[in-house]
């Protein structure tokens, strides 16, 4: 019996078209656009100016505040300008634009491919190195990793859970790094265990990646305290709370963080980035991005420098298909539809998915037929049909009472609804407004 979470869940078609494709290196573009806000929290402040020359891995923007992250240059060249550029959402955001010249790296970065398994740093040094390297959650949430490694006073971490689930259909970037960088991931897990002072780590992997499970099992056998846990293929198994429930059978209470049950969760790509930061002095400036879609000529997994325009990775996969209906940054369940492909790849970009016109349009929506299928699939045990109606009528007090703040915005409800109701659209709107009301009340 494979472990899984108990309440709700769906099983969308997996469509892992780029499964098993070896990681290719995307050529460095002519220009990169690096946004100052690629993470949760305050945007970083630029410490370079127009005309400066920078090297790969050089710090170009400093974290401004406790919940913030450093940003490093992903290329070597000259700073062309620091300006507001329209990003994928259509709104202009502050970005640093660098004209690329050569590929010169910072001296202290260890470029060799040799695995470094010496754990020479202590807990505080590790956390400092992680902070310095600007590591954020690479699963898409982009929460600063160093903050996660420092539990608030009064709570202790007991177990580290690595999220290698990759439950979104189509995406295979985490899968590819597990196959090619397995050793580094296990060492990275050890490093984080040391930083958190825990003896136990569990790596949760969905059962549709048997090669990765086998490979990591082989490596983990040689290390103490690391357990590989295969999980049933169900969406949203990769949701933090669902992962914790499946692996250690504890439910994070409503409104609380995972540390409340002694767990710290890190995405497996973040673990790799932490390995590279601590062992190789390499800050976060590149990541694996999956380019996929049924009409894409050659879906694949590419190692991309942060700031590369999205259209470059689409070109590498065969160019933008003629029947493109939607371009999504991320997976089909929680990704964002992009308005323009000149926008850059950021730390949170796990994939680029191209849907054709037939797949892109929503069906016409009808009145609720009270079938309760949305209630069946909600992993948080909420009532999406009710939350949507309350949000449409702006009844914020009742939304709060009906626990809308518990919603993890996974999209299972909208996916399932036979009446094609825009459940998550309105729930998100209601959640934003209710959150604002709660914050206003606390002041």
């Amino acid at each position: 019996m494979l472990k899984t979470f108990k309440i709700g869940g769906i099983h969308p078609p997996e469509n892992k078209l780029s499964k098993g494709k070896a990681i290719e290196v995307l050529p460095i573009p002519e220009k990169v656009m690096i946004p100052l806000s690629q993470h949760i929290g305050a945007p970083a402040t630029a410490i370079v100016a127009k005309g400066d020359t920078v090297k790969v891995g050089q710090l170009i923007a400093k974290a401004s505040g406790f919940i913030s992250a450093n940003i490093h240059s992903s290329v070597s060249g000259t700073i062309e300008k620091i300006d507001n550029i329209v990003d994928a959402s259509g709104y202009p955001k502050p970005m640093i634009i660098i004209k690329v010249e050569g590929d010169e790296w910072e001296e202290d970065i260890n470029k060799s491919a040799k695995i470094n398994s010496n754990l020479e740093y202590n807990k505080d040094e590790i956390i400092e190195k992680v902070a310095k390297a600007g590591i954020v959650g690479l699963g898409g949430a982009t929460f600063p990793a160093n903050v996660k490694l420092m539990p608030p006073p009064g709570s202790t971490a007991e177990v580290l859970i690595i999220n290698a689930v990759e439950c979104e259909p189509y995406l295979t970037s985490d899968h590819s790094i597990m196959l090619e960088k397995g050793e580094e991931i296990i060492i990275g897990t050890h490093i984080i265990m040391k930083a958190l002072d825990v003896k136990k780590a569990i790596i949760g992997i969905e059962n549709n990646k048997p090669d990765a499970i086998k490979h990591l099992n082989e490596i983990a056998k040689k290390h103490i305290g690391i357990e590989i846990c295969p999980l049933k293929v169900r969406y949203p198994q990769g949701g933090e709370k669902q992962l914790i429930k499946a692996t250690i059978n504890k439910e994070v209470p409503s409104g609380a963080l995972p540390i409340a049950v002694g767990a710290v969760v890190q995405n497996v790509a973040s673990v790799l980035a932490i390995y590279e930061a601590v062992q190789l002095n390499k800050p976060l400036f590149e990541r694996i991005v999956t380019i996929t879609g049924k009409s894409v000529a050659s879906p694949g997994n590419y190692l991309c420098r942060i700031g590369t325009p999205i259209k470059n990775i689409i070109e590498a996969a065969g160019g933008i298909p003629t029947d493109t209906g939607k371009i999504i940054g991320g997976g089909p369940m929680m990704g964002k539809a992009l308005t323009n492909i000149d926008a850059p790849i950021t730390k949170g970009s796990s994939g680029v998915l191209i849907l054709n016109t037939r797949e892109s349009q929503r069906e016409k929506s009808r009145d609720c037929i009270r079938c309760a299928k949305c209630v069946d699939v909600c992993p948080m045990g909420l009532e999406p049909f009710l939350l949507m109606t309350l949000a449409e009528n702006n009844n914020l007090e009742r939304l709060e009472k009906d626990n809308i703040m518990d919603c993890i915005e996974c999209g299972s409800c909208s996916y399932t609804c036979p009446a094609n109701r825009a459940l998550l659209d309105y729930i998100r709107l209601g959640k934003g407004r209710t959150g604002q009301m709660i914050r206003n009340r606390k002041q």
Partner: protein, 330 residues
């Protein structure tokens, strides 16, 4: 890039639709329909056809000309109301009564509340109860089924025969062993008097299995209704087998199976949480047995379902689904 779409996530859909669910229910009703045609002959087919056509036609006419909105006859829900209405009437009922029933079901039971999703009561049952009270004699004169076995059974339903017998002072056992009373096998296979839908238990059970496999409904409502009837009538039977029939008898007769599987499980009028569904089912089961045994009518299912339909909004408010991350206070 000018024809790309932008919308909030999720960007994929399961492909499920109202149509798929409704036509799935219709497919599940086919075994019972076919058996009713076999037992009751051409009359059954004509009544079913009339009911279906009237329901669809009335929905189209009312939506297009009175309400002036988009017509929704393509989604299959009017079809289902028609078939269920036909399941609830005798096969030789005058067709004009069927047409009136269709008008009441669709016009009053469904569209006056706002159409699919907004009605409080099961439309087919609204029509059926209206006909039962307005035209009691045609609605309770059951024809003989086409003879598939050698013995000719009378046209009355087993429940009616039982109630009449008990009122006359006979014991249950003696009623059931009489020559003109059907055996359990007859009840299961449908060789008994009754409305189109209530005779063939085997057809309904096949339909239930199909709907469960296709995940159109869940097991909670049918099992809680049937379970409650079994337990409640079973207790009564154990206490006094002379006056109260066995649980098996109650399950196989009357509209219990068709009600538990097709009527009570109607999406719109049943509760939305599992806890609510079970309480709903228990309520229906208890009311059915009470009306059957202590009430004036031999059959209680339709009234029981309509009464519990009225409780559905209350059950929706107070029976919430199990939430993630709620710690039970010890």
């Amino acid at each position: 890039m000018n024809n790309i779409f932008i919308s909030p996530s999720p960007h994929v859909h399961s492909g499920d639709s109202i149509k798929k669910n409704m036509y799935g229910v219709i497919i599940a009703m086919i075994p019972a329909m076919v058996l009713s045609f076999l037992y009751f002959g051409l009359g059954a087919f004509i009544v079913t056809l009339t009911a279906v056509l009237s329901c669809v036609l009335f929905e189209f006419l009312i939506q297009k000309f009175i309400l002036k909105t988009n017509t929704t006859i393509g989604d299959g829900s009017a079809l289902i109301t028609g078939i269920l209405l036909a399941f609830n009437v005798p096969s030789d009922i005058p067709l004009w009564i069927v047409i009136i029933g269709a008008l009441v079901s669709i016009g009053i039971g469904k569209l006056s509340f706002g159409g699919l999703g907004n009605n409080i009561f099961n439309p087919a049952l609204v029509g059926r109860v209206f006909l039962l009270i307005s035209f009691p004699v045609p609605m309770t004169s059951w024809p003989k089924p086409a003879q598939l076995s050698a013995d000719a059974y009378s046209g009355a339903t087993p429940l009616a025969m039982l109630k009449e017998g008990i009122a006359n002072g006979e014991s249950v056992a003696s009623i059931m062993q009489a020559n003109n009373f059907p055996t359990y096998k007859d009840m299961f296979m449908g060789n008994i008097g009754g409305s189109l839908g209530e005779v063939a238990a085997v057809g309904i059970i096949l339909g239930l299995a199909y709907m469960l496999i296709r995940k159109i409904i869940t097991w909670h409502i049918p099992v809680s209704i049937i379970g409650t009837v079994v337990i409640f009538s079973g207790i009564l039977h154990i206490i006094d087998p002379v006056h109260y029939a066995s649980s098996l008898f109650h399950i196989l007769t009357g509209g219990l199976l068709v009600g538990a599987v097709f009527m009570a499980t109607d999406y719109v009028t049943s509760p939305m949480s599992k806890k609510g569904m079970i309480i709903y089912g228990i309520g229906i089961g208890m009311l059915t047995v009470i009306i059957r045994i202590f009430g004036a009518y031999p059959e209680g299912m339709s009234f029981a379902i309509l009464i519990m339909n009225a409780f559905t909004p209350l059950l929706n408010t107070y029976c919430k689904p199990k939430r993630f991350g709620v710690i039970k206070k010890k």
